[in-house]
Structure formats: C-alpha cells, structure tokens
C-alpha cells in the first residue's frame, strides 16, 4: 500500500496518510457490496465522482484511494478492467503535459479553430479566435458565418494575424519542452496539444450525432451542460442552475465515453485533463444500457480483491 502511495507525487501523502486508509476501505467496501445491483453501481460511481470537489487536495485523496487497487491515479472510476500500475506513472506524465499545454490551446491561428468566438462570429483562423462561446455550444464551423461578417469591433483592433505565426512557434517550443521531459508520453502530448479537440457525441435514440469541442470546456460540469443543451434543449435558467443531471445519475441517460483502448467508460471519474487525453468519442447512453458496463466492472472487482489481498 505504501509503495503505491509513494508513486503518487501529487498527493499529500504524508499528512493525509492517516486519513486515507479509511477512505480507501470505504470506497472498496462500497464497490464490493454493490456489485450485483447494476443501478446501484451507477449510483455508486456517481457518488464516487461527485464526492470529490475539484480541489486538488481532495483529488489527491481520491487518487490515493483508487490508486490502491488500480495503480493509476483515479483511473476509470472502477469501470476500467485493466490494471495499470505502470500506466499510472504515465498517466501522471500525461497530466503534466496536458497542464503544460493548457494555455496554448487556442492561440494558434493555424488551428482550424472550432472554438466559436462569441466576440467574433466567424470561425476562420485568426489570433482573435480565442474566446469561448457563452452558452457552450461549440460545433465546428457552425453557424456558417464567414470571416468577413464577424464583428470587426471585437476583432483585430491593432492585432494582426501575425500573432498566428508567433503562437505556432510557441507551440513548437513547448512541444520540444515536453518531449524532453516525457519521451514516452510524446504521442499523448501531441494529442493533448491539439488546438481544438472535438469529439463526436452520439445519443441513444437520436440519429444525428454531434461534435463538441472539448477544449472549449474546462470541466465536466460545463461539458455536461453543453451536451444537455445540444440534446435535451434545456434553456430555461432554472434548469441550467441545477447541476447537470447527466453526471449525477439522476437522468435516464448516462454520459459515457470511449477511450483510446476502445473501452466504454463512465464520464466523470478521472481528472478532467486525463479525460481529455484519453477520450475518443462520447456517448449518451440510456441508463438501461449501462448494464454493459457492469461486467467489466465486476471483472475489476475481482482483480481488485486479489490486489488488496
């Protein structure tokens, strides 16, 4: 147990060491006891995900708890079937690199910016395309307003698109920096390096898939709200004020994603940046379908049980 904890540099291991085991055992217990009840599994998972606020300290706690059994920092909310002891390390590397790139996410003009600019309604590449839309609707190139008819009052000023060239160089510089630090995560770095990161979202029962730009969002809550607006069209302010139902398990739908390995995972369990670097596509699944997730989950439990023992 201690060894595992030692691998988690971000965690305030020393001080919280005392408090952690109980946290761990609580979590593990709940995993063990509720494995048969699918619905409760979902509820449990959502408890896990919503039980930590985004504050780093608590994040550290949770990572410690899950790190015990899975070996990766906060990996997969218990749904992922793989033991990733080694992977845990690279996951941290991934987190580092993703954070490194956070500020570069939309400064380049050579990015086909899918971040619609609330200030400038067009989408053509330009140094000014860096403002996220206020309502979180971030479909690439929609509405189809061309550059000419963006509002120039907020565009340009004295800022010329030469800014584009500069930021591309910056991008390259930081790429190199990352490559030096984490060679094995180079590929992952490049992926999280993308200036826009849009993934497909499909909802069970809806024919038309949509695309959402993940880089235009900074948290699960924001993403869930965007998706709810896209698919459920909730626009009244009272609804928006409530926390997203997709994430807390109270809706009839569940938000899942397909990760790089092709596994179907529940959204919300890993830190946001880690999610960004492993997500391939999103799927809003009917709660009844989420049974599929359970078997892997059970598989997990078994493995976990042996690890613990």
């Amino acid at each position: 147990m201690d060894v595992t904890l030692g691998l988690l540099p971000d965690s305030p291991a020393g001080d919280d060491g005392g408090g952690v085991p109980s946290g761990v055992s609580t979590t593990v217990k709940s995993i063990l006891t509720k494995e048969d009840n699918n619905k409760n599994n979902m509820v449990m998972c959502s408890e896990v995900s919503s039980s930590y606020p985004v504050g780093d300290q608590h994040l550290g706690d949770l990572e410690l708890g899950l790190g015990l059994s899975i070996g990766g920092g906060g990996g997969g909310g218990g749904l992922k079937g793989k033991v990733v002891a080694g992977g845990g390390w690279s996951q941290y590397a991934r987190i580092l690199t993703a954070k490194d790139f956070k500020q570069n996410s939309c400064s380049s003009s050579s990015c086909s910016v899918s971040i619609p600019n609330s200030a400038t309604s067009g989408f053509k590449r330009s140094a000014t395309d860096s403002v996220s839309p206020t309502n979180g609707n971030s479909v690439v190139g929609w509405p189809p307003v061309s550059k000419a008819h963006r509002m120039p009052s907020l565009a340009n000023e004295n800022k010329s698109p030469t800014g584009n060239r500069i930021s591309v160089t910056e991008q390259n510089k930081s790429k190199n920096r990352t490559a030096v630090i984490n060679d094995y995560s180079n590929e992952k770095a490049r992926i999280s390096d993308k200036k826009y990161h849009s993934v497909k979202v499909n909802m069970d029962g809806s024919l038309i898939g949509r695309k959402v730009d993940l880089n235009a969002h900074t948290s699960y809550e924001m993403l869930a709200q965007t998706l709810e607006e896209m698919f459920f069209r909730r626009r009244s302010s009272t609804e928006a004020a409530k926390s997203s139902r997709l994430l807390d398990g109270t809706s009839e739908f569940v938000l899942t994603y397909e990760d790089k390995d092709g596994d179907c995972m529940l959204v919300g369990d890993v830190p946001w940046q880690m999610f960004l670097s492993s997500v391939k596509r999103l799927r809003i699944m009917k709660n009844s379908e989420s049974n599929e997730l359970a078997p892997r989950f059970q598989e997990n439990n078994e493995r976990r049980r042996t690890d613990v023992v």
């Binding site: 003009s109 050579s110 086909s112 910016v113 899918s114 619609p116 609330s118 200030a119 309604s121 989408f123 053509k124 590449r125 330009s126 839309p133 206020t134 309502n135 609707n137 479909v139 690439v140 190139g141 929609w142 509405p143 189809p144 307003v145 061309s146 550059k147 000419a148 008819h149 509002m151 120039p152 009052s153 340009n156 000023e157 004295n158 800022k159 010329s160 698109p161 030469t162 584009n164 060239r165 992926i191 993308k194 497909k200 024919l207 038309i208 898939g209 949509r210 695309k211 896209m230 626009r235 391939k280």
Partner: protein
Amino acid sequence: MDPAATGVTVAGTGADPAKTTMFPEEFLKRTFSLINSDKDRNSVSLVCKDWYNVERMSRRHVSIRNCYSVSPEIVTARFPAIRSVTLKGKPRFSDFNLVPDDWGADVQPWLNVFATAYPFLEELRLKRMAVSDESLEFLALNFDDFKALSMLSCEGFSTLGLEAIATHCKNLTELDIQENGIDDLGGDWLSYFPENLTSLEVLNFSTLTSEVSFDALESLVSRCKSLRVLKVNRKINLEQLGKLLVLAPQLIELGTGTFLEELVSGSVNGLENAFSKCGNLVTLSSFWDATLLHLPVVYPVCGNLTFLNLSYANIGPDELEQILSRSKRLVRLWVVDTVGDKGLEAVGSHCPLLEELRVFPVDPFDQQLGVTDSGLVAVSKGCPKLHYILYFCQRMTNAAVITVAQNCPNFTHFRLCIMNPSEPDYLTNEPMDEAFGAIVKTCTKLQRLSVSGLLTDLAFEYIGRYAKNLETLSVAFAGDSDLGMEYVMRGCPKLKRVEIRDCPFGDSALLSGLTQYESMRSLWMSDCNVTMDGCKKLAEEMSWLNVEVIKDEGGDDRLANKVYVYRTVAGPRKDAPPFVVTL
C-alpha cells in the same frame, strides 16, 4: 447563326467539300469575339470542329471553378489567347474551418504555366486559393501587362506580397482584396505605388487591419482620375475620408472607414458637402462604428444608392430607418441582426425595389433574439421583387416561411440559417419540412437553397420533387436516413454543388448520385455516415471522379469523415497532402 450554313449539312449530304459554302474563319472570329458569356461560348464550341477551333483561339477569359477539375497545361493547350482568368480552389466549407490548413489550391503551379503560356495575362481573380507572397511577387514580375488582381477568401500572403504588386505592376487598374486570411504585417505597402502610376480604377483594402500612409493614399487617389471603386480600411477616419472624396467625386462605389470620431461641426458640413458632390455613388459599404451622430453625412447620396452594405455596422432599427427612408432605390441591402424585426419592418416599408437582403448575426452564440420570423415576413410583404435572401435567425416557423414564399415567388437564392442545429418550428414544435416545401413548390426559379432547422426526409422529398432548377444545395444537421439525400440526388437534374454536414446519410445515399456526379461540379459530405468502402465503390464506378477523403486524426479508419467528390479531367491530385487520400 444557322449551323447548317457552316458546312455541317454539306458533310451530311456528302457533297463535294470544294463546293462548300462555309463562313470564312474571319467571320466566325469576329462574331465570336462579341460573345462574352462563358456559357454561350461553351455552347458555341460544341457545334462542330471548326467552331470549336475558332472559339478556342478567340477566347479571352476562362473561368475555372474548381482548380483541380483541370490542369493548367490542359487549359493553356486549349485556349492559347487568354487574357483573364478566374480561379476557384477550396470547397466552400473551408470558410467555416472544415477543411484543414495546407489542403491545397496553391496558385503557384498555375502561375508557372501561365508565365510561359499567357505572358500577356491581364486579369487574375482568385477565390479560396492559397496565395503566398512569393506567388504575388512572381505574378508582379512575370506579367508585364498585368492589370487586375482580385482575391476573395484567399490566404497565405501578407502585405509583403502587396508591396510587390504595387511596385512592379505598372499598368495596375484593379487591386481588390476581400475577406482574406492575410498576415497584415503593417508596413507601407500603399507607398510602394510609384508616382507615375495613374491607372488605378479599383482599390479595395477594407479588410486589412493596419494603418496605411494617408499621404500616399491621398496622392494615389488624387492622381488616379479613373478611380471608380475605393474601399478603405477601418484606420481611415471620417475627416480623412472627406479629403479623399473631394479628390474623387467620380466614385461609383465607396467603402468608408470608421465613423468613430468627434468631428468639429465645420468638418461635418465639409463631409456632407463632399458626399453631395458624389453624384455617381451607387454603392456604400463598411460603416464601422456608425451611429446616428455621424451617419447623416451620407444622407445626400442615399437617394442614388442601389447597394448598401451595413454588415459591419451594429446599428439599431432607428438608425436603419433613418437611412432607408432616404434610400428608396435600394436593390441590395446587407445588415446585421442588431436592427431587429423593427428594422426589417423599415426595410419592408421603404424599399419596394429591394431584390436582395442579407441579415448577418452579430453574435451567433448569444441567445438574444436578433431577428425572427416576423422580420422576415415583414420584408417579404414590402419587397415583392425579393429574390435573394440570406437570413440568420434564432427561431422560425413554418407558417412564416410559407407566407414569405407566397409573397415572393421569385426566389432564386433562399438561404435560411436557423442558428441552433435541428431547431423545430418554435410555435408548433414540428419539423421545418413544410417551410422548405413551400419554397421549392412556389419558387420554381430557385437555384440555390440552404436549409436548416429540424428536417425529416420529407423536406428532401419535397426538394427532389419540386426544385428542378436547383444548382446549389447546403444541408446541415438534417434528415432521417439515406432516403433524404437519395430524393435530392435523383430528383434534381441541374445540381452543380452539394454540401452536406452532420447528416445521417451513408453509402447508399452517396452512391445514389452516380448519374449526377458527371454533371456536378462537386459534392462535400462531412460527419455523415459514409464509410471508406462506400467511397471506394464510388471511385471504382466512376473513373473521372476524384473521390477524396480528408482523414481526421485518430478517427475510426473505416469511416470517411470528410469526403470531397468532384469531376476532373486532370486525374488524381499530384499535390495532395498526406491527410487527403484519393481513392
């Protein structure tokens, strides 16, 4: 011209060719030189071999609407005497960031061939091409007679390239730069025009962001007596504009600079005076930062205006009313949706001659209303001659569009963009099928249609059944199944360009257009359900089509996320970047 007289019937009757009475070549040449329309020339060239030859030797202008449909060698081989070229490159959806950078459409390979084949080239009009500074310099240095350069939606060049054009093109009559992705490196490109250059007729640098030397501009305007189009950028203020107008009262089209300025009352009068002397002005555009404070300076010319472009001015209904009440002759009007429905009612009341209206969103993501169904109806009531509409709105109803169709049955271009994807009729919650159904049923001359809102296959069934003159169709977030696209591909015989995004159309739909693709310019499908297999099948069936798939990073390899299909006589692209796969 009676084809029979040129020897065709003679050939048919088997008579002795020596006895043929044919029109002398000189006669054909002179006659054809009067034919300017590309369409007519294309028809002429199909009559017989002689006509084909005379036509091709006498053609002065060629329009290549897809730069990959033909190669520069083929063009120059067929038409040796070209003086003016129009060249269009990227698919239109590149304007909305759906086409990756470095996709292609580089103008340089064309310039290389033109340098030897058309050393007397005078005009080059580019749209959605990739143009570098080196290319602009090459152009300036290799074509001594070069006169007119127009670039719309191009990118890759900077003000350095403009310096080259200004320096070396001794006979320049036109420099028209619009909507481009330019690196505005500032500098003084305008000052590079030599003192002895007096030929300029068209100068449009409205989309450049940095300051130009006003002295250089003033001197240029003053010595170019034939200047008829002047569109300055936002760095030019009202006072400077006034000075320019005094020097060029002969202007026909004017793009203003910024209206943001505290003007002394003397200046205001001076400006109004300057405007009143411009008796030929029929087009006014730009109007950055315009408010009721200084808008009145343009009132003296409003009465003559036929085209008013206010799409950069965030004005409200009152400002619009003030201008429009004085602009009774307006034929084309572009506005921002800040004018609201009330502003559109003013359009309906004051502009009976209006034929074209474009309403742009000030902020597509702001859920505020902008314009709605009632504004559109108001315009249609007051402007029966309306035949071109581009309308961005947050919500619409079937009933409104049906009314509009009845009021304006002459639509040739109907582009309605309800900004929330798949948005239903906001009153009835039904799909918008009946709206577009009404348009295609009533407007038999419809050439261009952009649909939006919640649409089922029924909308496409209507389009396929009624839109028999449809040439361009843009579809997004619509339809239920392959049937939708199939209805259109099978039903609309005149389709030229189809662009589809985010619709549930798959391989079956793609393949249903087999008979159409030969006569179409291009098809774009992105984020639909088309697979690589489907594309391969299409490519196998039609060898003179380029079926290109733009690969997404890390996508499913079986899916063809972005497909661009176009007819070509030039074979697969030789300059395709690694992410473009030709099947």
